[in-house]
């Protein structure tokens, strides 16, 4: 086991890693920016080193500063948490060159997963279903017709160079195809300087479902079931749960095995997440892999009883999965609400001093946070201030526990997304498990409801 770990992160995940280290009897080194001088990860770590000014590009993202801190503190490993340097292959390489263990996948695995097209190719080659589509740019109208016929309508035409909706067309039938193909090319040319477009199957009413995996350095990989992460706003997850109401035991087993086999092939050796889109009919297609521990890992911890962060550290130290993990079993249901310092209506960040902070507890409630009364939420970093996790023997119990926990969660001084979560938990469609990634867009304005109360 490692002697001393540097935690290259801040906020709740830095504390989460700190807790894991304490339980493993490993000493900890916190790094912090000038804006985080009074942060809890600084106070609770065995040592703390200031690595730069508030801007993360000059502190938490500054590789030379982080590595220098690791060297003067003489650590044998660095845990990057999520965000910041967690999926930076170059950083993982610098760690290796400095004889410091990077607690995460190999630089090659990070690099592969960082290039989405290549990751998709590799996964398709390893037998994972991917969204059917053109293999690259659609050269002409004849090929467009052929490809659309093969993958089946509706299809989506997307600009190869772009994003943001321009050069994008949804086509529902063969007779719409050619005009749509032409306008998409024209738009793409005007917006991105290249008329290149590609085509893929349109996934209607998609649900975002992901599989948690864990690999070791001896070629072993397990999956720890799925998480349902369809409740998103602008591609940011808002609420996650495990298991998913849309995944049955046989799908879990079948896809889980495919995932494990594919990751063994590429030699994946840490915690990671395989993300899928589920189409209305029930098929799941791989979209990307996150090569890190994720924000929503606690819901998996609750239903499996496995401490993912400790396990991740132990496999990084060379232990085998068989000695780290108990037999994997799934029990009960867990939900996580991300409490952000944001206006629940406009979603603009709400930085400032927290004047009151009361955390709920009781049966089946877990709160991961680095916030406290009198803490200042700096404007430089992300707005997550707490993760509220509920556990119940089934989904209904997890929901009622979450509802009463949200009612007992008091944050004053900054605005939070707690009111948003109260509304989600009270929504009949949510309670019935009927939703997709567009659920939050359809939710009527919060403020109107709040005022009506």
């Amino acid at each position: 086991m490692f002697r001393k770990i540097l935690i290259a992160n801040r906020g709740e995940i830095a504390l989460r890693i700190l807790s894991a280290c304490r339980e493993l009897n490993v000493r900890t080194v916190a790094v912090y920016s000038e804006a985080d001088r009074h942060a809890l990860h600084v106070r609770f770590a065995d040592e703390a080193i200031c690595i730069g000014p508030p801007r993360s590009s000059e502190s938490y993202l500054n590789i030379p500063q982080v590595i220098s801190a690791a060297e003067i503190a003489n650590v044998d490993a660095i845990h990057p948490g999520y965000g910041f340097l967690s999926e930076n292959a170059n950083f993982a390489e610098v760690c290796e060159a400095s004889h410091i263990t990077f607690i995460g996948p190999t630089p090659d695995a990070i690099r592969l997963m960082g290039e989405k097209d290549k990751a998709k190719e590799a996964m398709a080659a390893a037998g994972i279903p991917v969204i059917p589509g053109s293999a690259g740019v659609v050269p002409d109208e004849e090929s467009a017709k052929e490809i659309a016929r093969d993958i089946g309508y509706p299809v989506m035409i997307k600009a190869a160079e772009g994003g943001g909706g321009r050069g994008m067309r949804i086509v529902r039938s063969a007779k719409e195809l050619i005009p749509a193909f032409r306008t998409a090319r024209t738009e793409a040319e005007q917006a991105f300087g290249s008329p290149n477009v590609y085509m893929e199957k349109l996934i209607e009413r998609p649900r975002h479902i992901e599989f948690q995996v864990l690999g070791d350095k001896h070629g072993n990989v397990v999956h720890l079931g799925e998480r349902e992460c369809s409740l998103q706003r602008r591609h940011q997850k808002v609420l996650e749960e495990s298991p998913s109401a849309a995944v049955d035991a046989s799908t879990r087993q079948k896809l889980g095995k495919q995932v494990v086999d594919a990751l063994k092939k590429i030699g994946y050796s840490s915690a990671g997440t395989m993300e899928f889109l589920r189409e209305d009919g029930g098929n799941l297609y791989f979209i990307e892999m996150n090569a890190r521990i994720q924000v929503e890992h606690p819901v998996t911890e609750m239903v499996t009883g496995i401490d993912l962060v400790k396990s991740q550290i132990r496999v990084a130290a060379g232990e085998k999965l068989s000695s780290v993990l108990p037999p994997v079993e799934f029990r009960g249901h867990a939900i996580e609400c991300r409490i952000n310092a944001e206006d629940p209506e406009t979603f603009t960040p709400s930085a400032g001093r927290v004047t009151a902070f009361r955390v709920p507890g009781g049966p089946g409630i877990r709160v991961d946070t680095a916030c406290y009364a009198d803490a200042v939420i700096p404007p430089y970093y992300d707005s997550l201030i707490a993760k509220l996790i509920s556990y119940g023997h089934d989904r209904a119990e997890a929901i009622v526990r979450m509802q009463r926990a949200l009612d007992g969660f008091v944050v004053e001084g900054v605005k939070t997304t707690i009111p948003l979560h109260k509304r989600i938990l009270a929504d009949p469609d949510f309670v019935a498990g009927k939703f997709d990634t567009h659920f939050l867009e359809r939710m009527p304005a919060l403020e109107a409801k709040a005022k009506a109360k």
Binding site: D46, A48, C50, I51, P64, S98
Partner: protein, 193 residues
């Protein structure tokens, strides 16, 4: 934690700019009020005191939130970020600077400028092992003159003075690890005429 401002009248015994009598008085104040932890800040001076049993483990020098932290503020006359607790191995030896923390207010008007470390690394006073240090207390320096080396990731970074003046204080010792923003030198700037 308690934050409290008390009127200042300081003695003269000090180590590296840390006024021991003042620390003694603060410790008595903590004992009298049964405080486990105490943080106190005023211009150019910050101190945090914590009873030994209220912390889980020892801290190492300079890279930690140690038992007692005394950090130089903008005016720079306070001591180094020195550990003065039971776990302390090193405390900056006196650098013969006559000023002490109590004069921080006055110091501001004396144009003493603090050169802080722009990077995390290891401080070296001399360009080579066993060589003559770049500067000593009393040295006259020009703007842009090298003051020390900070080694980071095997690279030697020369730290230059950003003012011209006289070195009145060296806050760190040769070979010591330093963090971002740590006070390195106190330089009394030459008055512009």
């Amino acid at each position: 934690m308690a934050k409290k401002s008390t009127p200042q009248k300081l003695g003269s015994s000090q180590i590296g700019g840390v006024d021991l009598q003042e620390v003694e008085r603060l410790l008595e104040f903590m004992a009298k009020h049964g405080l486990e932890e105490f943080e106190y800040e005023r211009s150019g001076f910050r101190i945090r005191l914590r009873k030994p049993f209220s912390q889980p483990m020892g801290f190492s020098r300079a890279v930690s939130a140690p038992d007692i932290v005394i950090a130089a503020g903008p005016s720079g006359h306070a001591g180094p970020a020195a550990t003065a607790g039971a776990t302390s191995g090193t405390t900056s030896s006196g650098t013969a600077a006559p000023d002490h923390a109590g004069e921080a207010g006055r110091a501001a008007s004396e144009d003493v400028h603090v050169v802080k470390s722009p990077i995390v690394g290891t401080f070296y006073a001399a360009p080579s092992v066993g060589g003559e240090p770049f500067v000593k207390v009393g040295s006259r320096v020009d703007e842009g003159q090298a003051l020390c080396i900070i080694e980071a990731m095997k690279l030697m970074n020369e730290i230059e003075s950003d003012v011209a003046g006289e070195v009145v204080r060296i806050f760190v010792e040769n070979g010591q690890p330093v963090e971002y923003g740590e006070a390195l030198f106190g330089i009394r700037a030459h008055r512009k005429k």
